[in-house]
Amino acid sequence: MSAFLSYLVSGIAVGCGFALIGSGLVIIHRVTHVVNLSQGMYAVVAALSAATFLAAGLPHGVAELCAVLVAVVAGLLTGLVAIGRRGTTPLSSLIITFAVGIFAYAVEVLTWGDQPRSFPGLPGAIEIANVRVQEQYLLVVVASAAIFLALDLFFERAYLGKALSACSSNPYAARVVGIDVTRMGLFAFALGGALGGLAGVLLGPLRPTSFDSDVSLVIEGFAAAILGGLTRPILALMGGLLLGVAEAMVAGYVNGSYQTDVALVLMLAVMIGQTARRPSLDAEGQ
């Protein structure tokens, strides 16, 4: 029973991380119609930066914040390359984001080398119902809850959230009402960078990060996002939690090396399910 609970807690925490990456995908897709394949890279860059900043003597909090800012810059740069030029189709942009992710490997290996790195998070642990829970897990859950609440308020209530959604719904009409569609897209990429970066600094202490961790992160993030139909960040949170817990259970009771396979199978199942319900996934967005 206590094993089950500890798998559950770690699954929820890791699932929050997937959801953060997934919500970055959702937001960028919602504003620009681009599936950002370099989304996992922001988490990698942020985690590796945080390790460097902490090693350089920056205090906790400041180091993580700076690392997230590095991820924001990475997101913004991706956006500039992918959608900065007007008339780039979402499909071309998708390929560009893939290329940016590959290019980032070179930068990361040159900067940090090719060995996985980790850094300390919250050191303590507390007991809940006879289960020792690392405080870092609780930090991940609390921080994610706050972030998702803010995102949902922004997108569902605030006016600017509507303006952002309008960009992908009909870019032509959005320009007519005075919306700078490119600027909105760049904002989405920056926000995506921030969310990826937050995932990176929150998950960094829980699992070592290397330059190529982005592949599994983007797959897991995409699986979380697609469970919610790539529409709302809060649905990506549901998807992320489901996925995180499922992976933790598989890792705990079966075999840890099947984690990514769980994500892929879940993703496939959802996509098949959605396609069966609708003639095409695209039909909703068009």
Partner: protein, 253 residues
């Protein structure tokens, strides 16, 4: 209000708009008529900034705007209602109209994130003007439906509300009456009259000469991208060139 001088725009060697000059006074309602392919919609696209002219100038309230992009022109007070349904799918009617207020918002993401007084004030103003615009065009009862669920006529009315929400100085209407039933046309005419009465400058493209003649102060007739005639509606209807080129038949007695 709006001065267009020597405006030209070719497409692959054929001029869609050629050497067109138009002067629209403050508060005027200008009708634009002409047969299919006369360049009416191209003219609107040049004014709203979706197309760039190869020659000519456009001046809005003594500011040159032909080099500005569409969203910059919207922020200077040009609003356009398209013939087709340029709506935001997946959003409600209210949200569609609300986005129209963007042309006059000043708060940015930082304001929204920090919930500054500017953000709160504008957020409140947007909600008020959205409700006012919905009320004005008679869509208040439809506000919480999805935009794509509306019939075509109401989707166009919704676009009018969206345009009004931005409090424009110049409103471009591209065949707003097409596809509407008689009663809807009548309501639309009353709405346009009301807007003009409120001092809004309007340019109206319309196929139905009767419809536009009843509303417009002056008519501009385009044919093959060039101006064929310009004047008060009754002059235009007596103009022989117009009758031959535009109607292609003898005038009704």
């Amino acid at each position: 209000m709006l001065r267009i001088e020597g405006l030209s725009r070719p497409f692959g060697g054929v001029y869609a708009v050629r050497n067109v000059s138009v002067d629209v006074a403050d508060g005027e309602l200008r009708g634009i008529i002409g047969p299919n392919g006369a360049g009416k919609s191209t003219l609107f696209n040049l004014i709203s900034g979706h197309l760039r002219p190869t020659q000519g100038r456009i001046t809005l309230r003594s500011e040159r705007i032909e080099g500005l992009s569409a969203h910059e022109r919207a922020r200077r007070g040009i609003a356009i209602v398209f013939q087709g349904a340029r709506i935001f799918r997946g959003m409600t009617v209210r949200e569609n109209v609300m986005v129209g207020a963007h042309a006059r918002t000043r708060h940015g993401f930082l304001d929204a994130a920090l919930r500054t007084p500017l953000h709160k004030r504008e957020e409140r103003e947007i909600r008020q003007s959205t409700d006012a615009a919905l009320e004005r065009v008679g869509l208040a009862d439809w506000a919480d439906r999805y935009a794509e669920a509306l019939p075509l006529g109401q989707q166009r009315t919704m676009q009018v509300a969206r345009a009004l929400c931005g409090e424009p100085a110049l409103l471009l209407l591209d065949e707003p009456a097409s596809g509407l039933r008689a009663r809807e046309r009548h309501e639309l005419a009353r709405l346009i009259e009301g807007l003009r009465g409120g001092g809004l400058t309007i340019m109206l493209i319309e196929h139905d000469v009767q419809f536009v003649s009843n509303l417009a102060d002056r008519l501009t007739v385009l044919n093959l991208g060039e101006i064929l005639a310009e004047g008060a509606p009754e002059e235009i209807r007596r103009n022989d060139d117009v009758i031959t080129a535009y109607l292609g038949r003898e005038p009704a007695p």
